[in-house]
């Protein structure tokens, strides 16, 4: 039995194929930015080929993420909240809190004893506390996103960034630079600000261990450290934080197939239509 999960996020599309033993056969990450949307299905296609399989061999395909609604080749669509919960549970079985920082939104998910979603929170239509915030500000600073962690590691303190509005924060960063603040401490301040925003949102759920941070920005060790400091507990990061949603989708697919959920009779390997 073979199951696929496809997580179409606002900036990246992620695909995972697992077998009946929940072993990952292939995983792939590709872009979904505005100009790459039509490519979402290619990511699926390449993943299938990478696994040396044919598309027809897949028993169940679950789509998730922002672009999940109109996926012509998926059997079912499930929100990324449920998928992350399932994916993380497979990697870290004792997880109680998941902090997912996405490109366009952030989420906090609380799991119950059974490892399913007990409650969740999402940030509010605003770049603050998301990967986008880091992208914008790192551009202002002329730093590559991937360098943020290294740079912040040099900081001895941090400069407080009080504005969480991305536009205001950009101004603020510029003024702090003009006042002579060190870049390392500004970057540390940014991590501090995002961590504050995200952790505060998640506090609403009642934080218990184990805490897992996932999503693309979880690759930034500086940010993860700032989150851990705020949480006051050690936090875990999956080896491949990008793909936990897709993995969860694939694993949920196995469950659906077991329960004989209705399959999409007209699966077509075609472009995904995004809703407005």
């Amino acid at each position: 039995m073979l199951f696929a999960g496809l997580d179409i996020g606002s900036t990246m599309t992620k695909a995972v194929i697992v077998d009946g033993n929940e072993k990952i056969l292939a995983a792939l990450v590709g872009p979904t930015g505005a100009e790459h949307r039509h490519l979402a299905f290619q990511v699926m296609d390449e993943t299938v080929r990478k696994a040396g399989l044919s598309f027809e061999a897949l028993d169940f395909i679950v789509a998730t993420g922002y672009g999940r609604i109109n996926v012509p080749f998926a059997d079912k669509q499930v929100t990324e909240i449920t998928c992350h919960a399932r994916g993380i549970r497979a990697i870290f079985p004792g997880t109680r809190i998941i902090i997912d920082i996405g490109g366009q939104d952030s989420k906090g998910i609380k799991l119950n004893d059974a490892g399913t979603v007990a409650n969740f929170v999402m940030n509010d239509k605003c770049a603050a506390g998301t990967g986008r915030f880091l992208e914008v500000i790192s551009e202002t600073l002329g730093i590559r996103l991937s360098d943020l962690a290294l740079i912040s590691a040099e900081a001895e303190g941090f400069v407080k960034i009080s504005n969480m509005c991305t536009v205001f924060a950009e101004h603020e960063v510029t003024s702090r630079l003009a006042e002579g603040a060190r870049i390392a401490e500004i970057v540390a301040g940014l991590h501090e600000a995002i961590a504050g925003r995200v952790v505060n949102m998640v506090r609403h759920l009642g934080i218990e261990k184990d805490v897992v941070v996932t999503g693309g920005p979880a690759k930034n060790a500086g940010l993860v450290k700032a989150i851990a400091d705020k949480v006051g507990l050690p936090v875990w990061v999956p080896p491949e934080p990008f793909i936990t949603g897709a993995l969860g989708a694939a694993l949920l697919g196995k469950g659906f197939a077991k329960r004989n959920a209705t399959r999409n009779q007209t699966r077509r390997m075609e472009s995904v239509t995004f809703f407005a």
Binding site: V159, K160, F168, T174, S175, N200
Partner: protein, 436 residues
């Protein structure tokens, strides 16, 4: 990791000696509540401008103005943990930030079974009751309702009504005053039950006398401020208003304003101005002050621009209650009605808006060169209508006007660089107009 000290300061340099004494008076509000609790007295969460101040004084109830506490937190830049706590509890970031701070404080107190460590001015004592009102805005009664989640104390809210602008006062006066009186009577009955004591009419009259006297002196002080150069700036106003509101109905307020009156009179007579070279006189048109960044007034002063008068906190001039009114509660109801309808007649005759009439009179009396408004993202009551007032004012005066936006306490809504750019442009407009 340690936070780097931010450059610059937040508090403003004051113009008068008396204003510098206010810090201690404000601190004492919280101190005396703690003391009252220890001595077995009653403490009430309260809202200023609820028109009930004298009733509380007459019954020896110590008022704890929860909104002021939020302002204190902001002035000391210690608001974040309270705001964040309230937001984690489910209160939206667009909700009144005073309420968020208060709810956050009470939530933390409940969570930690005691006043949060290092709370500004020692924090707010546990109240015995919460007394909100519908005066000024909606959160001022809803907040205490919501605070029941964290505080197991009784609440009592009163309506404070004011007739709509086009209402005929002859048709409405009687039933407005009747309702107001009944609302106060209800409050008194509640307080008598809480304290187990009857209110004395004599003590209420005495408290009213003191309150009216303080407000009369405050009015006289503001009249002195027409002087050029300005003897007392708006940053002082935002301090000294504490006496009239947080010490309403006490001798302390009367003494304070007597001292301030003497000082301002001296300064005016000796042409002792706020800045050596007063170039522009600014009217603070509307909006709660930016408690988080009061030094901004000094920033204006660095361009020779002084805020000389403001249309906030001293919300009414003294009024004349008919001498036929013999009952102190009825007096309070009458005074409320007269206060809130003070500008109705003038507004009906011209702009249709009482604030516009008041501002026009101020602009003329105080010879102001410009008007500045402060819009607060989380305050509907003090913000909505500012643009309308600004538009209307523009029909009767050509002085430059500007609206700055942030919040009364939430620093996340404030952008220093944006403000400085806006202020720079405004000063240029003032200069251009002066050149003619």
């Amino acid at each position: 990791m340690e936070q780097r000290e931010q450059q610059g300061k937040t508090a403003a340099v004051k113009g008068t000696d008396m204003a510098r004494k206010v810090r201690g008076m404000v601190k004492n509000i919280y101190q005396s509540a703690h003391e009252a609790k220890q001595a077995g007295g009653k403490v009430a969460y309260s809202m200023i401008m609820s028109q009930y101040d004298e009733i509380l004084r007459a019954m020896d109830i110590v008022p704890l103005p929860t909104e002021n506490f939020a302002g204190v937190c902001a002035a000391k830049r210690q608001m974040d943990r309270f705001l964040l706590q309230a937001e984690a509890d489910g209160y939206s970031q667009s909700l009144c930030s005073y309420a968020r701070i208060g709810l956050g404080f009470d939530s933390l107190r409940k969570e930690g079974s005691g006043i949060p460590d290092n709370s500004p001015d020692g924090g707010m004592a546990m109240p015995d009751m919460m007394l909100g009102s519908s005066s000024v805005c909606d959160p001022r009664y809803k907040w205490f309702q919501a605070a029941g989640r964290f505080l197991d104390v009784p609440r009592y809210n009163v309506d404070v009504v004011s007739p709509p602008i086009r209402a005929n006062l002859e048709d409405t006066r009687d039933y407005y005053i009747r309702y107001q009186k009944e609302q106060f009577r209800g409050l008194i009955a509640f307080l008598e039950k809480q304290t187990g004591r009857k209110m004395s009419d004599d003590r209420l009259w005495e408290s009213i006398r003191l309150c009216d006297e303080a407000w009369r002196l405050w009015y006289e002080i503001d009249r002195l401020r027409v002087a050029v150069p300005s003897p007392m700036p708006s940053q002082d106003h935002f301090s000294i208003m504490a006496a009239a509101h947080y010490y309403a109905g006490t001798q302390i307020a009367v003494d304070f304003y007597q001292g301030l009156y003497d000082e301002v009179k001296y300064k005016a007579a000796n042409k002792n101005g706020v800045v050596p070279d007063e170039k522009y006189r600014i009217l603070y048109g509307a909006g709660l002050p930016p408690w988080h960044t009061l030094w901004i007034f000094n920033y204006f002063e660095s361009f020779g621009a002084v805020f000389v008068i403001e249309n906030v906190y001293r919300a009414y001039d003294p009024v004349e209650v008919p001498s036929s009114v013999q009952d102190p509660v009825e007096y309070l109801a009458w005074r409320t009605f007269l206060r809130v309808t003070q500008w109705h007649e003038k507004a009906s005759a011209r702009s249709g808006n009482p604030y516009v009439e008041k501002l026009l009179e101020m602009a003329a009396d105080y010879k102001t060169d410009g008007v500045v408004f402060h819009a607060c993202r989380s305050c509907r009551a003090s913000t909505l209508g500012q643009t309308h007032i600004k538009n209307l004012l523009g029909r009767y005066t050509d002085i430059p006007m500007m609206q700055l936006t942030s919040d009364m306490v939430d620093l996340r809504d404030y952008s220093e660089s944006q403000w400085k750019a806006q202020i720079g442009a405004f000063i240029e407009a003032l200069a251009a107009r002066k050149r003619g």
